[in-house]
Symmetry: C2
């Protein structure tokens, strides 16, 4: 068993030993660029932890772990184009530093490399099972992204729909990473399902946290523009919860702000935040997060390995759910 | 053994029995749309022909055949965005009918479905081998597209570089389709290599033909704007060959036209065509095509099955290389 920093070292080492080709530089430089923007490598780490629940020779799972990280970065690169996001972790996004064409094509090749690493696992007998999970997750991530886009132009998004969207767009990949690690280790289908659900439900909790941090986080630590969701009139859980619990007057005020542009961004963010605050939205959101978190742990509890083997995974997820940046 | 129309029926039947999901419609409608624009289904047909060289139960290869068609359409959808192409087979491209976001995301999900169909072949023992070829081809297609983009801003593109670019961007997929069909049928590595090279070299010949037809084809049959390459100042083989063989005066005139916009498109196309004509470029291009074609057939000749089994494949490729639309 390894600690999180030890696993991160192994991932870093694997990525350095398995670089992209040098040419065409215009295709591969942006892939290297997005990977050096300082992501947390949470997904490949989860995959390795999923493996270490069952087996010790974690190096065997590194190609699948790196595949998941590449998939994640492919989706970031394409989402940033679709969301017209100027910054990613405080640095210019790929389509901003280069252009849209580069963002599309370098993203495509990263997705293909993800499949290539996945196919390079030593034990060829598990490839079909690995692909079955990876393909499902990849498809669901696209469907979640499409739902997110659809919500932008809808006025009647309900909280359960929203939770389903974030489950698909971001959470299934965390569950999928754990499941794929366990597949590499030869775990049974029941354990695979529980790990997948643990990761997915914890992932929904993470995303609820992210929604909160976009408005209530520390910009320097978070590496994003604070209030970015408000300025983009995003229907985050903060907004949907307000529309569920607030007075008609507050709902109308929020909707008015959301119907306006961002001519005066500071004023807009402060005004919307004030509506959230006086309706206790941060606390209500925290409760919602806790609900998913405790549901998640029920699944981890029943995974059929000794509790000591679950410690690193449990601590990592707990730590991550407590973060305020 | 089946004729081309019989194989096309099987592909059509398979696609109808394996539709995309209904929702989110915004994600999957564009996938259905591009597939109904009337492509020739040449790649999946080649895959099935690759299978039928060795075995008779061609239905086994249908998931892999459909995977190749989905991959092809994914690459068309993304290339059309990068090339800012308004039309595809005479109809609006996906990003024109919808928008860039749709073109990106629906393309992504088509690529994922390609992998999903590939993973669904019945004989799980061949999946790793299939993926090895598919991943290589997919990566090379991206690299070829990148080279094509790079050429736009370069003044010193040489003919061998250009031929390498079209080999990667379009021809390797034809070779890959034949190879994957043969993998499904359990062919040996030597036959796989020869089929891959046959398809690739024939694919380069196809592409040379396409370059010629873009300027010399019949607009109504071809479904594209005639002279589109000229108006976009594309460095096609017609241009590169002219720069190789023409007088300095003609080279300069061509370069002047390529440095101008398309304010008067009819005049520009006619003027550039006249330069090609007086330098016998169509004939020289035809010779180049013949060279690749005859190299291609040498590889088909040595594939270790009876000549009668090669007939359908040979006739299909010959027919396709003779087309004037």
């Amino acid at each position: 068993m390894h600690t999180l920093p030890q696993l991160l070292d192994k991932i870093q080492d694997f990525s350095q030993k398995n670089p992209f080709p040098d040419t065409p530089a215009e295709l591969y430089d942006p892939c290297n660029y997005i990977l050096t923007l300082g992501g947390k490598r949470l997904r490949p780490a989860l995959l390795l932890m999923g493996y270490e629940l069952f087996k010790n020779d974690v190096e065997k799972a590194l190609p699948a772990a790196w595949a998941v990280e590449l998939f994640h970065n492919f989706s970031l690169m394409h989402d940033d184009i679709m969301d017209a996001a100027p910054l990613r972790r405080g640095q210019p996004t790929v389509h901003t530093r280069w252009n849209t064409t580069t963002g599309i094509l370098s993203g495509d090749v990263m997705l293909i490399y993800a499949y290539q690493f996945l196919s390079s696992v030593e034990n060829k007998a598990i490839i079909a099972r690995l692909l079955s999970t990876f393909n499902r997750v990849a498809r669901e991530v696209c469907e979640g992204q499409q739902m997110d886009i659809n919500f932008e132009t809808r006025d009647n998004v309900k909280i359960p729909e929203y939770l389903n969207m974030i489950s698909l767009k971001t959470a299934v990949l965390l569950g999928g990473a754990l499941e794929m690690g366990a597949i590499c280790a030869g775990a049974n289908e029941s354990d695979l399902n529980h790990l997948s659900e643990f990761g997915r439900l914890a992932g929904v909790a993470f995303q609820i946290q992210d929604d909160k941090l976009d408005t209530y986080g520390d910009s320097a630590k978070f590496g994003k523009q604070v209030g970015g969701d408000i300025l983009q009139n995003k229907k985050t859980l903060l907004v949907l919860k307000t529309l569920e619990v607030a007075s008609e007057k507050d709902c109308q005020e929020l909707q008015q702000w959301m119907a306006t542009g961002a001519e005066n961004p500071v004023e807009k963010v402060e005004a919307v935040k004030a509506i959230f605050d006086r309706n206790n939205i941060p606390e209500l959101i925290e409760k919602e997060k806790q609900r998913f978190q405790s549901e998640a742990y029920k699944h981890l509890d029943v995974v059929s390995v000794a509790e000591t083997r679950k410690e690193v995974l449990r601590e990592t997820v707990e730590e991550f759910l407590k973060r305020d940046k």
